[in-house]
């Protein structure tokens, strides 16, 4: 069982090396706005999350995922769906 808290914690770890502006990372931190991540970096992050939990996060889902909290919710949901 992968709970949301552990998913969130691991996402923070995955983001940390890409957080070049050293923005404080919270549930409400946004990828494009706060962290100023470019689309290529975002896609690499997505790939690493997919591999971490063996899930698929379709690219077309990304526009709805603006904050770290939203991503944690989505990943938790996808992991649960996988069963």
């Amino acid at each position: 069982m992968t709970d949301r808290a552990s998913v969130y914690a691991r996402i923070i770890e995955l983001i940390e090396p890409l957080n070049s502006k050293k923005v404080p990372l919270t549930e409400a931190t946004t990828f494009a706005g706060d962290m100023e991540m470019d689309s290529l970096t975002v896609m690499d992050l997505v790939a690493s999350m997919e591999d971490e939990w063996d899930i698929m996060i379709p690219l077309n889902m990304l526009p709805d995922l603006e904050t770290i909290g939203q991503v944690a919710d989505a990943v938790t949901g996808l992991v649960a769906k996988k069963g």
């Binding site: 470019d38 689309s39 290529l40 896609m43 997505v46 790939a47 997919e50 591999d51 063996d54 899930i55 698929m56 379709p58 690219l59 077309n60």
Partner: protein
């Protein structure tokens, strides 16, 4: 008009880009995205700002733009059929010329169906978005062309990206997809930014093992890869497992337009459901007549193909021996990309080259993968050894003027 801008100006979102571009030009360099060719002398030479310039960034791989037979076919078509069709392919926009162009494509590719689009961009946009719909999956290489990404956006399918040219990564991602779903794997024969080619046998084999249909974009491979010049997929021997081949007339063919060829028995229905095909005007008769003639000549252009590879090796080897860093260790396609350290040096080098009379493409993120800056050269079968040697000399001179550090000669 500008005095009445609303408070919430829709163009304000481009302010950072406007500032970046202005910053670039304030250093005194020429605008890399604002070149005007006053005269085009041949497929390899033009007059730019009054200066005689060698063209090394036009994708005119086979030099067909001024081929006498091609030009004559266009002239005859404009005389006999007029300047344009003023209509969609499915209404009043299909002339005998369009039919003959599709016949030429079928013969060139040895396939039973061919559909001509108004541009290569629209061919990818239309095919990708029409083949895959809601509930289907599109699996694409991370370095895919913008037209493929845009087709994905328009498709309503779920989009899965795999690491560039990485068969193991493709397989890993395909394993996560539901077995019964419709899946389209989109590949390119040549990737136009770095000029590298795809390992199609490995990728196609994995795609087929997972029940996917395969589309290969041969925009930068048509004309000089494979026995019949069909592209990388022919050269690598995977023709039987490729369901759709997309291509363009604006590279080797030497005019403008896009197409898809296929042996799929239900292919023809796409003419009625593919929106970028249906809801736009068809190509002018002169353009498709030029394309048809050019395609038929490319079928047997073996000498030109050999010459293109020769000129490409000369440029690649010459740049390498002068210490330039290149995107591929060996010349994999007719694109030779020179790696640059940063935006400023790239722009300065590009600008110096144009002052010296050499036109190349300047490429930067997000068009390029992994944040690289490039000076991209595309070679033409009509480039002479003298022209290539002149270019090599000017590259070396530009590097010296710009203080670009070069590696040890290989």
């Amino acid at each position: 008009m500008t005095a009445n801008l609303p408070k919430c100006d829709l163009l304000a979102k481009y302010d950072p880009l406007i500032a970046e571009h202005a910053g670039l030009l304030s250093t005194g360099i020429r605008d890399p995205f604002g070149i005007v060719m006053e005269k085009v002398i041949s497929p390899t030479e033009a007059i730019i700002k009054g200066k005689h310039t060698i063209l090394l960034g036009t994708y005119n791989y086979m030099g067909m733009t001024f081929d006498p037979d091609v030009v004559a076919a266009g002239q005859a078509a404009i005389r006999d059929f007029g300047a344009g069709t003023t209509g969609s392919r499915v209404l009043n926009g299909t002339y005998q010329t369009h039919k003959e162009c599709e016949d030429a494509l079928k013969d060139f590719y040895g396939m039973s169906h061919a559909m001509v689009f108004s541009t290569g961009y629209q061919a990818n946009l239309g095919m990708v978005s029409t083949l895959a719909g809601k509930g289907d999956f599109i699996i694409l290489d991370a370095d895919s062309h913008a037209s493929i990404y845009d087709g994905c956006k328009m498709s309503n399918a779920d989009i899965v990206r795999f690491r560039h040219n990485d068969a193991a990564d493709l397989e890993k991602r395909l394993k996560r997809l539901p077995e019964g779903a419709g899946k389209l794997v989109v590949l390119e024969g040549v990737y136009s930014m770095l000029g590298d080619i795809a390992p199609l046998p490995e990728l196609v084999k994995i795609a087929k093992a997972h029940g996917c249909m395969v589309l290969v974009d041969e925009a930068h491979g048509m004309g000089f890869f494979g026995e019949h010049g069909r592209g990388v997929y022919e050269e690598q021997g995977v023709a039987d497992d490729v369901d759709f081949v997309v291509g363009t007339f604006s590279k080797s063919v030497g005019t403008v337009g896009g197409f898809c060829v296929s042996n799929h028995p239900k292919f023809e229905i796409l003419r009625l459901v593919c929106r970028p095909y249906t809801f736009t005007a068809s190509l002018p008769p002169a353009v498709v007549a030029c394309a048809a003639t050019s395609i038929r000549k490319l079928m047997t252009a073996t000498d030109k193909r050999a010459r293109l590879w020769e000129a490409t090796r000369r440029l690649h080897g010459g740049l390498k021996s002068r210490g330039f860093r290149l995107a591929t260790e060996t010349p994999e396609s007719a694109i030779v990309s020179v790696l640059m350290p940063d935006q400023e040096t790239t722009a300065l080098m590009w600008s110096t080259l144009i002052e010296l009379g050499v036109y190349v493409n300047m490429s930067r993120p997000p068009a390029t993968p992994a944040g690289v800056f490039l000076l991209r050269c595309s070679i033409c079968a009509l480039h002479s050894d003298d022209q290539i040697d002149t270019v090599l000399g000017r590259f070396a001179e530009a590097a010296e003027r710009c203080g670009l550090a070069l590696g040890q000669a290989a």
